[in-house]
Symmetry: C2
Subunit: 322 residues, 2 copies
């Protein structure tokens, strides 16, 4: 990871200054909301993927920073709206924005960040880039809707789960890599390689995230363990668990999960059963399938330092423990 860290440290200031400029230009009503989410120290995975892909495909120069920052704005807007919709109380170890600043302010801040991201991308005067970003915004909205609907009408198929993962994370990470390739002026074949790389990396990233929710202590993620279970989110580890139960027990448990009415003892029982069955590990095994697909796409990139770093990102996701 140290090579990636070094690369990020030398390139992050360009992205961060675009983000700070965006926050500084906001109306006082939403400025603190945007600052709260943007300064909470996310991984900046999205800007970095855009940057690394563009550089790996021959792009030079600083004009990529606003695009990379716009991708982080889209991500942050989604987080703000998601936390309102989920009534989530914690994010990245901090109280969520809607609790600190109010629901209205948070919805509006999300709308503003999305609009700014969209406007920023227009300034590149590139139709393929605009199309790529507007589709990302569209699919991200669809993904949020699918996830909320899954809470209301749970589906226990892995296919439905994967569809939600693509909408929630895959599509935006795909867009980061695809837009990086577009700004680099790459031929269609490489844009396509970047697209499939980002999509598969995104699915793997989310699978690992969902696996971690059932495996680590609150100290390392800032989120309490089993949060997805309490919030009634049917992620892969829980789907695998439910699939292994008999019909009657499954229906009873599913009903309680859906209504978020599991008591602490029941929660503890589910978590322990899942740990015994190694479902977090099985989810990570599934993520390895997507990491391998991402690796194969990278094989179609020219050999550069940045391609090696992108291989490193896949290793980082594979080994991620928090």
């Amino acid at each position: 990871m140290s090579a990636i860290k070094e690369y990020i440290e030398s390139n992050l200031p360009g992205v961060e200054s675009c983000l700070s400029e965006t926050v500084a230009g906001l109306n006082p009503l939403v400025k603190p909301v945007a600052a709260h989410i943007l300064e909470a120290g996310g991984k900046r995975l999205r800007p970095m993927l855009c940057l690394l892909t563009a550089r790996a495909l021959g792009h030079e120069g600083k004009d990529i920073y606003p695009l990379a920052a716009a991708l982080e704005l889209i991500h942050s807007a989604t987080l703000l709206h998601d936390d309102v919709l989920d009534r989530a109380e914690m994010r990245r170890g901090r109280t969520t924005a809607h609790i600190v600043f109010g629901v209205n302010e948070t919805i509006l801040a999300g709308d503003a960040l999305l609009a700014i991201a969209n406007k920023t991308v227009t300034e590149y005067e590139s139709l393929p880039l605009m199309r790529c970003i507007s589709q990302a915004i569209y699919w991200t909205a669809v993904g949020e809707i699918q996830e909320i609907q899954q809470l209301k009408e749970p589906s226990l198929t892995v296919e439905k789960y994967t569809e939600i993962v693509v909408g929630k994370t895959g599509y935006l990470l795909q867009t980061c890599c695809q837009s990086g390739a577009i700004i680099a002026g790459s031929p269609q074949e490489q844009v396509e390689a970047a697209r499939t790389f980002g999509l598969n990396l995104g699915i793997a990233f989310q699978l690992v995230d969902d696996a971690l929710d059932y495996s680590v202590s609150p100290l390392s993620t800032g989120k309490p363990r089993g949060g997805d279970l309490r919030e009634g989110k049917l992620t892969l580890p829980l789907i695998l668990f439910l699939q292994g139960m008999n019909n009657e027990a499954r229906d009873a448990l599913l009903k309680k999960i859906k209504c978020q009415s599991l008591d602490p003892f029941e929660q503890q029982w589910v978590l322990e059963e899942m740990e015994q069955q190694g479902l977090s590990r099985k989810t990570r095994e599934e993520s390895n399938v997507y990491l391998q697909l991402a690796r194969e796409s990278l094989g179609r990139f020219p050999e550069t330092r940045e391609r090696d770093l992108l291989y490193g990102v896949l290793e980082y996701i594979k080994d991620r423990e928090d």
Copy 2:
């Protein structure tokens, strides 16, 4: 009005079928929300302004309908989010979407409609059009924020009020006319005329709307009279009333308006005082200034049937009673 009505009736089906197609393609979670707002029978002012401007500037053909429909989608998305933010209970004579279908569903439907509008416009493969629409989405978000902030920290200046009106209504109506001129391939000078026409028409339209809130019966608008007063919205009629009070009385009343704590007797008193001072009429006089500016911009359009109809729209706004 009958010439306008006739024109609308022959062109509306093209727009309506685009809107129906959009609704049909939505996820079941948000489909009823979109149908609720789109089928409530708005005036379709935005699509019609886009269409009339484009036709007045020489555009022919049906490829304008998706653009015209996209403008209605942006407007509808704004209404959905606004009603959540305002906790409004009625819209166009019907219970608001967030009360019928839930807050989450309504926020998500708004996000989806905005994303679809944006994506639709990308398909025209025109950078000036994309820029125009992405700026409209941006300024509409800013306008919503300014309006909510005005509730929190009321300003009694006409300048601030006008700024909010531009953000809330003016900018999108400007975009309708500007995008119509762009799709018609008009020279810069005519695009500019279309832009100022739309902006001034938009400001006048909102001023008349704000005047009507203090002048008509619930039967004709579907909204209770004095709704803005109850919701604590500082529109021009109320600003003029407050400006005419002595400092002490004004501060006391403003405080109650801000907290939405006026009792029915106080509300009645304010409404009657305002009626006596003719503040609704004064607001309409103010709107005439903007209607005149819009009229002057139209003078730069070539003489066509559609230009006459646009003059007719200005007359309709001037005489509007519901």
